[in-house]
Symmetry: C2
Subunit: 564 residues, 2 copies
């Protein structure tokens, strides 16, 4: 793509399908409105829907067509069929394929960001262009991981024929892909957690075919991503069944997908209600399968006394920035801030009040999300004190007021919080709840009362941290990531990242959906007993032809070491 | 314990409680019949039950008392209370504790084996003495693992303050214990998969408190093991809440335990019915938790043409030995043997028929298991051909015929197998089903039709294996362990062992319940962002004071390397 059209009207028109009977021309990034079933396109008979531009209230072309059950079955059968060859593909070949996808995202990042902007209201720059870079970056990270190869956790316990009382047989194990994975696109990350997002990237990296249920709020962005991946599949000469994308106006296709016998694992990022519904469907399968749902997190922030040294204004600006990043539509938005009962805290509250009262209205991702935010914020105002609310009349050009949300600041004391655990629950939008704690003991009581969260943050000096070791120990049991002097938003894609946590943050705290460890969701150990060398996977052969790090008789064997 | 009494009467009398009102003297291995709630004993008001000697039909003293809901709650609260300190205990201290337990099992192995023999009918030597050695060996293996320390998968992504467009924060992650674990003792391994079995050993090694629901068929063995562990807890000066054992005549305590909010994970080995019931209870919790059930496996054996080179008699002896090991009451008993339609296979069938017809009756673990075996074998005889059955009149001394089981050999052709998937299902007892396959294609069809199994075995020459690569590839998707020229029984406790497999073999194919990787069931990754060195766990400090293997910026960092 040589040029990137800047006007949203232009883009919308360009991406509309040519109305040409059954012969839809699908050059380049032109959108067709049809699901992708391996290498072919889905039909146009299913329930139709359109994306909505939340900034204008207008519907966006083209019309999208819900996938049929037959198409879903075809996608699942193709995925299962492709698994045998794709699961045997070497790490270097898989890496080349993933890099091809990354190149595709890089080549089309402008168009992706423009279309995602139309469908989500998120700004093109830096947000969506950054998210596009993150998307290709994720593919490259997983490409590097499978190219190097040590991620499979190879373990070799050589035979001990002379051991008494019984000899030991030769045992070798490594991680192998689990099978076709169902991925659900998230509303709040149209690129990095959607069709070509972290779940798809990590599953494809592990050697698993992927079927994505696209999020209906950004189908155009989803179709563009689908084309980028499908083109890389074709260019790499891989079985087309390894990647399909299903559109659906409702929830039927997703429900059918996670119940399909060919599907071996599920990845989802979204609401607690949606995630729990999927967990329950999966648990009721004749054969339950791993189900990873990333759902709901209050991301508590504990402000210890030393934190005020940086000044109430700076502290308030950092917190407000984190609360309202992405219009508060972040999994890691700090929704609860625990403060000492001190003058400094009053100053912080005052600063935050000022920021909220000067805040403009935010355009939310969808009318449904804006409505739910309004409902939840109203309910919370009935439970605790509403300290401040952004003005509602700041934008006379609002064409779709129901997609707008206003920042809110609530306050409560710790007794209220402990008496009503619903106050810990996430509200998806630009609000936060300040909780006043009379003592260190109150901080601890609040920490003990927490359910599972993605993150827990502590602000203060190192001396504060030292003096509150017990608090840290309790928080470690409640969250997947502990942050010292930072904000929880901004989830680095790294090897040590943990974007997970005990329920209801996720369905399974033993895994992360961000960072290279996300690949472990889609793999299972397989042990080969007494196998001839030539028939072992290369990772497990004595000569270590791939030069990976392994565990030899329980001891770390350095990468390349056994080659010398 | 200086001497080991050999006569079963003697042991039963020795272990009977002294009837002395409320002041029960509990020296040494004397049995009390009461649950263990941390450092105190449970009450004697719950529903009573006795162990049964399956060899004689006699009940065994003492009387056992079901735990009350209040005792269960106490155990759970104590476990949660103990978790904070136990989860912070260093690997070396935890290793010393585990080795103390191992010493206890070694010191009492004779008595354990004698009592287990009375309660299970399994022979003292080599089986139960071997199982006692395996039990202490498991504790020592996990002690070595946590002593060395690299198992926590430490990952360090140092800060990149100069990175563009945004700096990277310092991120460090490692595995941390998940919390109190509920363990269910298995009927068929009264030592190695029971109170002090692999689930308890791996959970304690990970840093998790354990509450065991003892199997009601071997309460005396369970109480002995409970005492050994409890004494090690006390001698190590640890919080007594880290280990409790609950007795129950029925299933109520187990059901309440897995629903208890303090319990954070479940480990179970047993029947498909029991395991699935636990899975469903856990999935219906307000906060679902990891649930590991090891349940049902047919352990198919594929006999390729070259296998007959060793002679039909040898092949038959090996298979028959594996089918009847432990009276066929093994998770890995080969329940389906797929044979080519050839004269060699007819010879093998003839040899097996001879072995079955010469076989004596087996004493099963419990009347219930014997009854269920009889029922299932009768049902199978209505589906396929009963080739041979061990004679029923071989033991005039049988005092409890309902605890006896007779080896059976069934046969079917592959079309019958494919038409009736229930033929793949495990029968728990000394039977196997021979399935005749007309071609390599039939082997593949049968492999594709398999559900999940713990193991899949291929017998033949290396050329056979080479010629059947596709079969191996399919089997890899169906089982946790692939065996070449061996039998599936005999599960080595090793680093590369995988005792797991897709449902219904287990609830979660991504984990194993045997071998050092079993520890990963009880741990979750936690990420520390921007933490001061002094407040990081030692495993994550720059200086690497424990000298463990880590991943530094995504690259393997050899153990001790960073110290130099």
């Amino acid at each position: 793509m040589a040029t990137i059209a800047r006007g949203s009207r232009t883009i919308a028109a360009r991406h509309a399908p040519r109305e040409a009977g059954c012969g839809i021309i699908t050059n380049d990034m032109e959108l067709t409105g049809q699901s992708l079933i391996g290498s072919r396109r889905g039909g146009r008979d299913g329930a139709p829907f359109h994306a909505l531009n939340p900034q204008t209230g207008e519907t966006l072309a083209p019309k999208y067509h819900s996938a049929s059950q037959a198409e879903l079955n075809d996608a699942a059968e193709l995925a299962a069929e492709s698994f045998t060859s794709y699961s045997r593909l070497g790490g270097k070949e898989r890496a080349a394929f993933l890099r091809r996808i990354a190149d595709g995202f890089d080549a089309h990042r402008g168009e992706l960001a423009e279309r995602a902007n139309l469908e989500t209201g998120l700004p093109v720059s830096p947000r969506l262009l950054g998210e596009a870079a993150r998307t290709s970056g994720q593919f490259r990270m997983f490409a590097d991981l499978v190219d190097e190869g040590s991620w499979v956790q190879a373990r070799i316990d050589p035979a001990l024929p002379d051991r008494k009382p019984q000899p030991r047989v030769d045992l070798r194990s490594m991680l192998r892909p689990i099978g076709p994975v169902a991925v659900f696109g998230a509303s709040n990350f149209p690129l990095a957690f959607s069709v070509g997002g972290g779940d798809s990237a990590s599953a494809l990296a592990a050697g698993c075919p992927v079927i994505v249920k696209a999020h209906p709020a950004h189908p155009g962005t989803s179709e563009m991503a689908a084309k980028i991946v499908a083109e890389a599949v074709a260019a790499s000469g891989l079985h087309p069944g390894i990647f399909s994308v299903l559109f659906d106006a409702g929830i039927e296709a997703g429900a059918a997908l996670v119940r399909h016998p060919r599907i071996r694992a599920v990845g989802f990022t979204g609401s607690l209600k949606g995630g729990r519904a999927l967990m329950d469907l999966v648990a009721a399968r004749p054969d339950p399968i791993p189900c990873f749902t990333e759902m709901s997190s209050g991301n508590p922030v504990f402000v210890l006394p030393g934190a005020f040294r940086q000044g109430a204004a700076t502290l308030a600006a950092n917190l407000f920035g984190s609360v309202t990043l992405g219009c508060g539509q972040m999994c890691t938005k700090p929704g609860i801030v625990l403060l000492p009962d001190a003058p400094d805290a009053a100053a912080l509250t005052g600063e935050l009040r000022g920021l909220v009262e000067q805040s403009k209205a935010f355009t939310m991702l969808t009318p449904g999300i804006a409505r739910e935010y309004g409902r939840a914020a109203k309910a919370r105002a009935g439970q605790v004190t509403l300290v401040a609310e952004a003005p509602h009349h700041d934008n006379p050009q609002e064409r779709e007021p129901h997609v707008h949300a206003h920042a809110r600041l609530f306050s409560a004391d710790v007794e209220q919080l402990l008496a009503d655990p619903s106050l810990f629950h996430e509200i998806f939008g630009p609000d936060t709840l300040l909780v006043s704690c009379a003592s260190t003991h109150d901080f601890l009581r609040a920490a003990h009362a927490l359910e599972g969260h993605l993150t827990a943050t502590v602000l203060g000096t190192e001396d504060d941290l030292e003096a509150n070791r017990e608090l840290i120990q309790v928080l470690e049991q409640k969250a997947g990531r502990l942050i010292f002097n930072g904000v929880p938003t901004g989830v680095e894609v790294a090897h040590a990242m943990v974007h997970g946590g005990p329920y209801p943050a996720t369905s399974d705290a033993r895994f992360t959906s961000v960072g290279s460890q996300a690949i472990f969701r889609w793999a299972r150990p397989v042990c080969y007993q007494n196998f001839p060398q030539a028939l072992l996977p290369e990772e497990l052969q004595d000569a270590n032809p791939l030069g990976i790090a392994r565990l030899w008789d329980g001891k770390p064997e350095m990468a390349r070491q056994r080659l010398s």
